[in-house]
Amino acid sequence: MAVIGESPGRMPRVTLGARLHNNNNFLGLLFMIPAGIMLLVFLAYPLGLGVWLGLTDVKIGRPGKFIGLGNFRWLAQDSLFWLSVFNTLLYTVVASVIKFGLGLWLALILNKHMPFKAMIRAIVLLPFIVPTVLSAMAFWWIYDAQDSIISFLLIQLGLIDSNIDFLGKANNARASVIAANIWRGIPFVAITLLAGLQTISPTLYEAATIDGATRMQMFRKITFPLLTPIIAVVMTFSVLFTFSDFQLIWVMTRGGPFNATHLMATLAYQRAIVGGSLGEGSAIAVAMIPFLLSAILFSYFGLQRRKWQQGGTDD
């Protein structure tokens, strides 16, 4: 239609602007620019800067120079770094497994008909709503060596004789911060799994009842398999959040006692900001990337649509 130069006089001249206006590729690109800029400025730039810093020996107040993998060689010899890796893995694995178990259990309960259902669901969401710093401070108090309400209650019940030193002993402190993390993370798991449960048609359970399935068999053969796609999503996110946790630990223990609760994120912060070694701190943070990447890869394969979800366009 728009043959330039040869179009008869009556044809309106198609300007470049008008033609671009009708070009889907150009429009698509145009609309993506704002989002692209956001991603570049707020995600790609900090990430790139972090990685770059990890390859330098910058300290606060002193420009550093490129030292290649020097920081990483140094960290490989650092037993505290390896302790933080161990702590992070322990923290992530134990907390995620328990969050999954309790969250699934809670979701199954909330999926039943019961009085005050809406209110109970709202209450379950509370830990998720409260700012983490606030709940961390509350836990800090709950775990206080002198005034812990848990110790107080257990003494009143006659179960123990003296206060428990929750945050003062290595393993106590690890268990305590894990418990706080579980408390904080369960709502996300429970509510998301509940949403997944509600997509399962009740007639499937009726059909299974008539087929002769017991409750346990229905859970194992129907509920759980149908829930696996959403479990993969939820647990990937849960693992990512837990692995990179910082706030809870920093408020409650600052990594103590004797670095027993130092996670990679807290150690990175301590070295980079508190200690001023931006390069080394960044290197620790960069060292988290392979772990997080493997979690994402796991989810990438876990999230792929199951074979039974494919095919068929109707419904």
Binding site: L204, A208, G212, W308
Partner: protein, 371 residues
């Protein structure tokens, strides 16, 4: 195989009673259709027979055994659901084998039974697919196959065809009926579609608002509806119903419609003059006639269906439907005379809505067992 009997069955959800003392007897090997408008309680009754709903009062027995407190899996029944209820994460084979696996049947038995059912339903080539990869009709066949595999005493169908398109529904209707004739088995089939009820059932149970309105063979229910509800619900296009009064005119007994239209009656019906009645005549029993014979109607809309021509007209201030097998050239606005076949005219009492012949001159009508 077994008969199914409901005796004075009541169902209440909280304080709302939805079934008010249902008595139904379903003989062994019969194909019985529960039909009624939505909300009439037919599905609830079916679910009580299945054991998915508790019986509030009364008793349900299967094969002579009261099953009120027997869990569904011990009732030896199988159910086909409206939305098929296939397990989406299992292949067709495993869907059909599920109940056998739960019962810990040996692998040979599972193979044998599933393949037998698949052959009967032409599903052999789909055994390795997931439900999502099947069409609606195929899914419904899988659901039926899943029921067949269990060799149940009773098959329960809960509106199994209503999710299918019209053409497939007609085809599946025939297939289901043929299947029942082949494998037998007491079948209870719930539908809101009266055509489905008429075409499939050995017996029809017409329900409304938690009561049984009539039980009988399809033609009994069609030809001798117990009351105005059954008359208007069964049959499509529906029976024409006119309110009027039985009156003597020129020595003949007629029904005088409320606007003065004269509706002819067979004589000797035994209904006394002055009685307020509803005059019922089915559309196919109205014949085109000469002026002065029968009653007049004004053609409003003509709907040729191919086999018949349906005329929607206006008589006695209300809509009238007449269907003609012969080709006529009707035009909107045209006035025509229609003569009802007198032996097919029904009179219903306006107060009780019951069919009058049943009350007063029922000697030569087949009596239905009070089931």
């Amino acid at each position: 195989m077994a008969s199914v009997v409901a005796r004075n069955v009541v169902k209440a959800f909280g304080s709302t009673e939805v079934l008010h003392g249902i008595d139904v007897e379903i003989p062994d090997k019969a194909f019985v259709v529960l039909v009624g408008p939505s909300g009439c309680g037919k599905s609830t009754l079916l679910r009580m027979i299945a054991g998915l709903e508790k019986v509030t009062a009364g008793e349900i027995s299967i094969g002579g055994q009261v099953v009120n407190n027997v869990p569904p899996k011990q009732r030896n029944i199988a159910m086909v659901f409206q939305n098929y209820a296939l397990y989406p994460h299992m292949k067709v084979f495993e869907n059909m084998a599920f109940s056998l696996r739960l019962a810990k049947a040996s692998d040979e038995i599972v193979q044998e039974k599933v393949h037998a059912a698949a052959d009967a339903l032409n599903l052999r080539e789909y055994l390795d697919r997931y439900p999502r990869q099947l069409s609606g009709g195929q899914r419904q066949r899988v659901a039926i196959g899943r029921a067949m595999v269990r060799d149940p005493q009773v098959f329960l169908f809960d509106e199994p065809l209503s999710n299918l398109d019209a053409k497939l529904r007609v085809q599946m209707r025939t297939e289901l009926k043929e299947l029942h004739q082949r494998i037998g088995g007491t079948s209870i089939y719930v539908t809101h579609d009266q055509i489905e009820a008429l075409t499939m059932g050995d017996r029809i149970v017409v329900m409304r608002d938690g009561y049984v309105e009539q039980v009988g063979s399809p033609l009994e229910v069609y030809d001798y509806p117990n009351n105005i509800f059954v008359a208007s619900f069964i049959g499509s296009p529906a029976m024409n119903l006119f309110a009027g009064t039985v009156t003597a005119k020129d020595g003949l007994s007629i029904v005088l419609a409320d606007d003065g239209t004269v509706l002819p009656l067979a004589q000797g019906h035994g209904v006394s003059d002055g009685r307020r009645v509803v005059y019922g005549i089915r559309p196919e029993y109205l014949a085109l006639s000469k002026e002065g014979q029968g009653f007049e109607t004004e053609v409003v809309v003509v709907e040729p269906t191919g086999a018949d021509i349906l005329v929607i007209g206006r008589t006695a201030g209300q809509e009238l439907r007449a269907s003609f097998h012969d080709r006529h050239d009707f035009r909107p606005g045209q006035r025509i005379w229609l003569n009802p076949r007198l032996d097919t005219v029904h009179l219903f009492d306006q107060e009780t809505t019951r069919r009058l012949e049943l009350d007063e001159a029922d000697s030569d009508l087949p009596r239905f067992r009070a089931v």
